[in-house]
């Protein structure tokens, strides 16, 4: 069987597998946010960046190839991941202490895992539109990290195609497929995979906030 080297550990792979697939199968962690198994990867968060034969690549999109030497847990890559996380924090408004996703947030978890203790960059404090129109679901765009998991889940799993990404550069934004642009005018439901899949507190189910006490949440 073909194999690649992940930080010196040989991991087997089958045709069509990515570096991320190999790492997951071999139980070698590669931090990631926009990647989700069984969802077509696109490599936007870049948190899973590894170094393959001297070049950066996102593990989730890079096809595994015989003879690859993949670096994951190096000082250079730890610094890179830290910087990327800081960037995600400063471009949005991520106030963990008051966020109801705290403790179950993958961005927060990744930041803890990577030892992020400060923002380093000057925060942007963006003012993005909130959508509280739907009786059961809230969109807080200040916390969106543009992972597009909701876009894919709604389209490919829920079959509703409710979300999309619009804009460019720092004006990139999550939009809703309804004439009004509001979530209330869609057939989304709180049980949709698109809601559950949000790694941060951008898409929240109303009425459940702080239901689980601190200390008992997913990543506590």
């Amino acid at each position: 069987m073909k194999a690649i080297s992940l930080d010196g550990i040989m991991a087997p792979f089958a045709e069509g597998h990515t570096v991320m697939d190999c790492a997951l199968a071999a139980n070698i962690p590669i931090p990631h946010l926009c990647y989700l198994p069984r969802c077509v990867p696109h490599g936007s968060c870049r948190l899973c960046t590894v170094k393959i034969d001297g070049r950066f690549a996102s593990a989730c999109t890079q096809p595994a190839m015989e003879g690859q030497h993949v670096e994951i847990d190096t000082e250079e890559l730890r610094q890179l991941r830290l910087s990327l996380l800081r960037m995600l924090f400063v471009e949005g408004n991520h106030y963990c202490p008051s966020c109801e996703k705290s403790g179950s947030c993958r961005l927060q978890k990744a930041a803890y895992d990577e030892g992020m203790l400060d923002l380093h960059y000057r925060p942007w404090y963006p003012k993005r539109e909130m959508d509280a129109s739907h009786p059961d679901i809230l969109i807080d765009r200040d916390r969106c990290i543009f992972c597009e998991l909701c876009v894919k889940a709604s389209r490919d799993v829920d079959g509703k195609n409710i979300f999309g990404i619009s804009g460019r550069g720092t004006d990139t934004r999550l939009v809703v497929n309804s004439k009004s642009g509001l979530l209330a005018d869609t057939d989304i439901s709180a049980q949709d995979r698109a809601v559950e899949v949000c790694p941060v507190g951008a898409i929240l189910v109303k009425g459940l906030g702080f239901e689980i006490p601190i200390g008992k949440r997913l990543y506590d």
């Binding site: 870049r46 960037m87 400063v90 471009e91 999309g164 619009s166 460019r168 550069g169 809703v176």
Partner: protein
Amino acid sequence: MASAAEHADLLIERMGSNPLQVLIAIQKAFNHVPGDAICRIASALDLPLSRILGDVEFYGFLSREPLGVYSVLMSDSITDWMLGSRELFLRLCGNLGVSPGVTRSDGLATVGKTSCTGMCDQGPALLVNGIAVANLTGDRIDAISRLMEKKIPLVAWPDEYFHVESNIRRRGWLFQDWEGAIFEGEALLQEMTDAGLRGRGGAGFPTAKKWASCRDAPGSERYVVCNADEGEPGTFKDRVLLQHCAGRLFEGMALCARIVRAKKGFLYVRGEYRYLEAHLENLLAARRDTDFEIELHWGAGAYICGEESALLESIEGKRGIPRVRPPFPVTHGLHGMPTVVDNVETFCAASAIAAGGGREFRSLGTAGSHGTKLLSVSGDCSRPGIYEYPFGVSVDQILEDCGAGNALAVQVGGAAGTCLDASEFGRKVCFEDLPTSGSVMVFDRTRNMQEAALNFSRFFARESCGFCTPCRVGTEILAQTMERISEGRGTGEDIFEIGNLGNILKASHCGLGQSAARAVRDMLKKFPEHFEGTVK
């Protein structure tokens, strides 16, 4: 007048199903894209609303808010700055009594900025309702302001305002009068291989190999796409080739189409070159090749669409987000089908080889870079314009020929390229040393390279597609850092941070982000004295 939604119906009937082209036409007719038009296009084409809205909010020349009857975009390239564009911009705003980017209350005008418009050899330049006006002076700005105040339609403005000079300063192998084609099919591929033709966009992939890979890839359809979306600041050779050699270009695309068995081709032209529309449409209408149709596809103000996979997304009517590669376009290109994407200069060179054989081409250039290269020379020189040289020409030679006697620095390859100081002027333009799509910008000894660093960093932040974290956030932090330094508020920490950002940006999804800090870091390293005085 029909409503925008009704107009959209008509346009779809007439222009087909490409949302981006329909949106460009709506923008032209209504000075913006109203919400009802967005809804109508989405439902008529059976696409999600977010796809159409996404386009409007992605492409710089489309707008959801009504713009003025006259929509002016001042070219904001570093070479425009060097020719006084920032002062002229303020003068225009002052004349018209508008704030940048805010439409005048009576709806007469909107004045904003755009990235390089490809008129660097005759700047400063602007676009008015999408049409280029070059050679701007204070007087010309005042005259334009008066024409707008009097509501004189563009067609009644003096012709000279819209005159674009070609400025071909040095002709070589490519600019000969090539006619017909002696070589076709396999023979042409062999001739191109023997000639050593490599892509002229900068990456230098062997062209015959690309065409053969496309031909051999499985697929029910195949496409030939010409990338004429040259947006790299300082490059304008495609503009001149489209003006003078479009026939050769179409011939090159058709020769490729016969090899790969494509029935359909696209010429993707940047929106900044809209003034060439009638010229190109006439030439296309005169083509008599019924087996291979070429369609014009207009860009709409997005540098990133020059990246080949983003360009394909754009032809498919989507936001120009670069695709995950592999797979590459030769196997999975337009609509997932095998596609050849080549640069204007590459198709022109291929058709010239078909006409005259590859022997002369092979004899020109260096061991690894055969043939000639068109260079777009601008900045501080007395003869800016197009120079065709055999590969291997030294920067010194270029400077001598273009009349740049007092050069401090030369930026080769545009904002994404390399900044050279005088000690490096012996370096050569070729794939082995300085690979470039052809932008050469000259800075003389009166210049402060900090200005260029500021300009380039702002450029990348404006043009980042926003898809991946390092580029979306990193280019903006880089630009903010350069702005702080320029305003005298920078610190040593900021200088250090620019180095860090350069490393982080290398993890970007595509070449835009990966090269975004390159020139700025070069400038910091080679001209530290231009920065030291301004940081605390």
